[in-house]
């Protein structure tokens, strides 16, 4: 009935990580991994091509149910099945059966690396953690890194080479390629084009340079739908050279964001969040928190965190920036008028900036035009922030040219028959290139198009050849972080479906010979890692970073002839017309994650929508256009038109509609196909981020959206406690007293005693940015199933830790509060007294445990749980059929069956392992030895977990804070999970006015 993982997998030496050998802790080449054969066979032989999948529609359920019921029925009265143990053939040192191992590597997004440690169970990569030594991780990760492990096991990944849709072989492709290359060699590669995503990989860049050396007339284009063009153009405008900009947010007292979402997007998301939270003050009320001003068109994680959010249309940000610049004495021409509300905002903002010269920062968003970025640079220089909180370095991206321009050229050459061989590596241009470039149509005109990708997607369909690419956990490569720090990304498993890496393909293009990516990467680094290459290489693999590879700071000077002030003010868009804003989808990003069920079902931080995108509009606009949630509207831009359901979003700029990219995929896979609408259909290359003169018409239909939170106000209940710094300083003591009294009210029962360990958790609401990383990390760690849109719509989502989002104040300019809610592990747990079979019980360490195999599913516990953190398997949600998905599961956690209740366990499997190790050593578990999945992933370290009986533990110290309070403490549930009240730092001048 339950299975950690089928016994076949259990004992089996399915171990792609090869025997580590004499050469130290890590392994090196694919040839070494003989054992991997076993696993590949295992998967391919049993691989159910069209088996039941994550995207649960009704019919699929029917199938599942029949199986699981049969299973259940038999399970109730059957002999135990005969299972097998399958030992290794060759003993291999370092690998202990049943014990997980961790390998350092890196995930990339938009080309930029986030260092990670990947957990491998018997050779199966199952969980991703951050790499503490990596600058853009510092031990934390984000939802994308967490979810990337699911992609590895996705049964929808492309598994074979195809030619015009027919299955073919690598050999045939090689032969065809040879012929073409021979022809190209004659004309110096004229007509050869390479189209890649943004590349920071030094090895790949070097390979491509080699290629270009070999074929001088060939060209290389990079394109990402969400790229850094504006940033690089901005530095070109301001400094006359291409630079990468880094922000030291931990040093900034005043942070001004001009439509910049540095917490949720950007190439240093995780690091920025960490630095920002440091500046936010460690909730002790001693260090004064930083102050965040954020102007945004469509609300973002950053604007939600702001002490002073300002909802302005993307087009008006420039005006705003100019006003701010002028206020700071930066020549920026004569800015247009702005609303009074904005005036006070900017006035206060300017004063704060002036008062904090060298300790403030102005950040322009990636979606803002270069001009705004230039202004930001000017202001940062004027404020002496440059060099202090803002530093510059050479661009991390190889050949950082304007991607849109580059793409335009490619298209132009396609028209002029200048392209006869196009190799597309990664990306999905047919889907994600702005509609006006009509990439698909042009592509069909090219005689030979080969495409390498993880999925056989829209682009593959339009190409002659599709080549299955390796997942980043399957191949050797390298990548740079936002600050240039390079990481060797090592595989944990041999390619499941015989894919090849970009390095291998390029090696092929350059030399016409097969060369393993392992050799390619090593050959690149051999001359660069100093004299003792092997040891340097080993430590690089072990640490997950290459020491000293960070790009040094650059001293920069503003261009002398800055033609900024004489630039005419932007044509003020008339108030009647609407603005269309394109945003990256918080989960799907540019669409590359569309087939990842974890991300699809992850509630979007602000809208709490799942499985769909929507047209977000402000409450005022909704009133004016008499629109309600789920009303379908026609969005008309020029002569392009799409239909989208409305979602009313507080704090959204008025007279603007924002839609997220990444949906409306047609060949994403069984999870992502046909969900939402395709925003790229409206997107044009000259207005990639926002466009004016949007026409909106009511379609008169409704489209059902699945949200996980229907009520957004706290109804006067003290759910999230908020105080400004001043308020807090006034009555901190009082608050502490209240909270203490509330949680220790009298009771007829004797107090709960735990003499051994007493596990407890605190969640700091001041630093929680609501990014959802905890939710998805928990999902990955605890085998939490995905239930699908229909079930979410019925309120049956399974997430063990949810992030509640509340609004406070005026709907057009509310304050946003996030509150992660896991199980509170109450000492007087209401769920326990009502369970008739003792499936919900306390253990001696104060954990409120749910015993799945004892649970009969009365659901009384959920009714009695005031926090509603219990989740019920109304159907057989866990996929018991797709073998590759079984391989992803955490063998330390039971896979739940239909009809049982489940909930947060404080990652009891981690506690148990910690306890066993400590017990064997005859000591207590050390503080910080047991770290829950949510705590580990949290970019802002808002979650603290530990032993309350350990006087030295961090959690005990944090709970001593006067900010500490128990959610619904008045019910005397005496929760072990408590919160630190949210402390904001608004500018008194603004709040007064």
């Amino acid at each position: 009935m339950f299975h950690k993982l089928t016994a076949r997998l259990e004992g089996k030496p399915i171990d792609a990580t090869p025997p580590s050998n004499d050469r130290g802790g890590f392994w090196r080449s694919l040839d070494e991994i003989r054992d991997a054969e076993v696993f590949r066979d295992y998967i391919t032989e049993r691989f159910p091509r069209f088996a039941a999948h994550l995207n649960v529609d009704r019919r699929e359920f029917l199938k599942l149910m029949s199986a699981s019921l049969a299973l259940a029925g038999m399970g109730a009265c059957s002999r135990e099945p005969q299972e097998e143990i399958v030992p290794y053939v060759n003993a291999s040192s370092g690998r202990v059966a049943g014990e997980p191992r961790f390998f350092a590597t890196a995930t990339t997004m938009g080309g930029f690396a986030t260092g990670v440690l990947v957990e491998s169970n018997m050779g199966r990569p199952t969980k991703i953690e951050g790499n503490p030594t990596h600058p853009s991780s510092l031990g934390s990760t984000d939802i994308f890194a967490q979810a990337s492990v699911l992609d590895l096991w996705d049964p929808d990944r492309s598994q074979v080479v195809t030619r015009n849709g027919q299955i073919d072989t690598w050999e045939n492709f090689g032969a065809t390629l040879q012929r073409r290359l021979a022809a190209l060699a004659d004309k110096q590669g004229d007509g050869l084009r390479i189209l890649t995503e943004t590349v920071t990989s030094p090895t790949l860049a070097a390979q491509i340079d080699q290629l270009l050396k070999r074929y001088p007339r060939a060209r290389w284009h990079q394109y990402d739908a969400i790229n850094r063009d504006n940033i690089y153009d901005g530095t070109r405008t301001a400094f006359g050279e291409t630079l990468d900009v880094r922000y030291a947010l931990d040093k900034a007292q005043i942070i001004v964001s001009l439509d910049a979402d540095f917490l949720g997007a950007g190439n240093a998301r995780v690091r920025s969040a960490r630095d920002f939270s440091h500046g936010r003050g460690a909730a002790d009320g001693e260090t004064r928190p930083n102050r965040l001003y954020a102007a945004a068109s469509s609300p973002t994680l950053t604007s939600a965190m702001a002490d002073h959010p300002l909802a302005v249309r993307a087009a008006d940000i420039e005006t705003a920036a100019r006003n701010l610049a002028v206020a700071l004495g930066v020549p920026a021409g004569t800015p247009a008028e702005i609303s009074d509300e904005s005036k006070t905002w900017f006035a206060a903002c300017a004063r704060d900036l002036q008062a904090n010269r060298g300790a403030s920062v102005v950040i322009a968003g990636e979606s803002q035009p270069p001009y705004v970025h230039a202004l930001a640079h000017l202001m940062n220089h004027a404020l002496a922030n440059a060099g202090a909180t803002v530093t510059y370095s050479d661009p991390v991206v190889a050949h950082a040219e304007n991607q849109t321009t580059s793409l335009r050229e490619l298209c132009r050459d396609m028209d002029t028959r200048g392209v006869d061989t196009l190799v597309i590596i990664g990306g999905n241009p047919v889907y994600s290139v702005p509609s006006d470039l009509e990439f698909k149509a042009r592509l069909t005109a090219v005689p030979f198009v080969a495409r390498m990708g993880l999925y056989e997607d829209e682009t593959s369909a339009a190409c002659h050849w599709h080549l299955p690419a390796t997942h980043f956990l399957e191949a050797w490569s390298d990548a740079r972080a936002y600050d240039g720090t390079a990481t060797i990304t090592q595989p944990l498993i041999a390619p499941l479906y015989g894919g090849k890496s970009a390095h291998e393909l390029l090696a092929w293009l350059v030399a016409g010979t097969l060369k393993s990516s392992y050799d390619v990467v090593r050959d690149y680094w051999r001359p660069r890692l100093g004299t003792d290459f092997e040891s340097a290489w080993n430590s690089a693999l072990h640490e997950g970073v290459i020491a000293g590879s960070m790009f040094p700071q650059r001293a920069v000077a503003l261009k002398r002839d800055l033609s900024i002030d004489n630039r005419p003010p932007p044509a003020s868009t008339d108030d009647s017309s609407l603005e269309l804003v394109y945003t990256p989808d918080p989960s799907l990003w540019d669409g590359s994650n569309a087939n990842n069920a974890w991300l699809q079902e992850l509630p979007r931080p602000l809208t709490k929508l799942t499985w769909d995108n929507a047209a977000l509009i402000s409450p005022q606009l909704a009133k004016r256009l008499s629109l309600e949630n789920e009303d379908v509207i026609e969005l008309r831009l020029g002569n392009a038109m799409i239909e989208a359901p409305v979602w009313i979003t507080p704090a959204h700029a008025d007279r603007a509609v924002s839609i997220s990219l990444g949906y409306g995929r047609t060949r994403a896979g069984r999870v992502g196909n046909g969900r939402g609408f395709n925003a790229y259909a409206l997107r044009t290359s000259d207005a990639p981020w926002f466009a004016g003169n949007l026409q909106v018409r009511k379609a008169g239909r409704k489209y059902a959206l699945a949200t996980t939170q229907h009520h957004h106000a706290m109804n006067g209940r003290e759910v999230v406690r908020v105080a400004t710094v001043d308020e807090f300083e006034r009555n901190a003591a009082l608050r502490g007293a209240q909270q203490h009294q509330a949680t220790r009210a009298a009771s007829l029962y004797p107090p709960f005693k735990s003499d051994g360990y007493a596990w407890g958790m605190t969640i700091n609401l001041s630093t929680c940015i609501g990014c959802n990383a905890c939710t998805i990390a928990c999902q990955a760690e605890n085998n939490i199933p995905v239930v699908g849109k229909t079930e979410v719509a019925r309120g049956r989502e399974m997430h063990w830790i949810r992030v509640d989002r509340y609004y406070e104040g005026k709907p057009q300019a509310p304050r946003t509060h996030f509150q992660p809610v896991p199980c509170m592990h109450c000492e007087r747990a209401p769920c326990e007294v009502v369970c008739p079979v003792e499936a919900s019980v306390h253990d001696s360490e104060g954990l409120n445990v749910q015993v799945y195999n004892r649970c009969v599913g009365t659901r009384f516990c959920s009714n009695n749980c005031p926090y509603k953190v219990r989740r019920f398997n109304f159907f057989q949600y866990a996929d018991q059929h797709t073998e590759s998905l079984k391989a992803q599961r955490n063998p330390e956690v039971t896979v739940r069956m239909r009809g049982v209740m489940e909930k947060c366990t404080y990652c009891i499997q981690r506690i148990a392992n910690g306890r066993i190790e400590a017990d064997k050593a005859g000591r207590r578990i050390r503080d910080g030895e047991v770290i829950t999945a949510c705590q580990a992933v949290c970019p802002t370290q808002a979650i603290t977990f530990g032993d309350l009986n350990d006087p030295a533990s961090r959690v005990k110290a944090v709970k001593a804070s006067p900010l500490n309070y128990a959610l619904l403490g008045e019910l005397n549930t005496q929760p072990r999970t408590t919160y630190l009240a949210k402390v904001t730092n608004p500018n008194p001048d603004v709040t007064a006015s």
Partner: protein, 216 residues
């Protein structure tokens, strides 16, 4: 009108009524027994190679840990890889027919597939290393393994069997250095020794019966 039932018939009826009751009791008992998980106690499990613990332990004198290498470090006691077998069997019985599968495995790289003898439900998380560390002898659960020509189970592995020890470990635990000794007998009273060891090995009897100790 005549009586429906003659007195004799009535007596017969009463008896048959009793019979019916008895019948149901029997049926229920049979059903209950039939659904009880069958501890295959005493019945050897078929294996691809008729491996004899008796031979390897009593006759040859191998230590448990020679093959079950990870029993002290991991949840999984560990099964010997084929090359462990071949360390001896490349020389001894090098061409015995019963060892053919082993040689085949070694040559082909295809692992041997043994049938599990001790198989816990997947929602039970058992860890060998901690039990060994706390002085639970191999013999305590696996029985006189050194006298088993073919391996069989000596314990029911039912929850009440686990609880029997988790509730009163002093009844079973032994000095750490005697864990792998299959012939150890308590010098004096097991209870007195056990109590002493529970103290010494810091076994938290309070938490031993937590559901979360075995179920996650």
């Amino acid at each position: 009108m005549a009586q429906v039932f003659e007195p004799r018939l009535v007596l017969w009826l009463k008896l048959s009524a009793l019979a019916v009751v008895a019948f149901f009791v029997v049926v229920i008992l049979i059903w209950r027994i039939s659904i009880a998980p069958h501890p295959s106690i005493g019945s050897p499990v078929e294996q691809i190679v008729p491996f004899s613990h008796k031979h390897h332990v009593s006759d040859v004198g191998l230590d448990c840990r020679y093959c079950h290498t990870t029993v002290e470090t991991s949840a999984f006691a560990g099964m010997p890889p084929t090359d462990t077998c071949m360390t001896c069997h490349s020389q001894l019985f090098a061409d015995a027919r019963m060892l053919a599968p082993v040689r085949k495995s070694f040559a082909s790289g295809q692992p041997l597939r043994w049938n599990r003898v001790h198989d816990l439900p997947d929602f039970v998380y058992f860890n060998h290393s901690i039990h060994v560390a706390k002085g639970v002898g191999c013999e305590t659960c696996h029985g006189p393994i050194d006298r088993m020509p073919l391996t069989w189970r000596t314990a029911t592995l039912e929850m009440q069997w686990c609880l029997d020890c988790h509730r009163a470990p002093e009844k079973y635990i032994r000095p750490r250095d005697q864990v792998f000794n299959l012939h150890w007998r308590p010098p004096g009273s097991q209870l007195i020794l056990g109590k002493k060891l529970v103290e010494e090995y810091r076994i938290h009897t309070s938490s031993l019966t937590d559901c979360s100790i075995c179920h996650r």
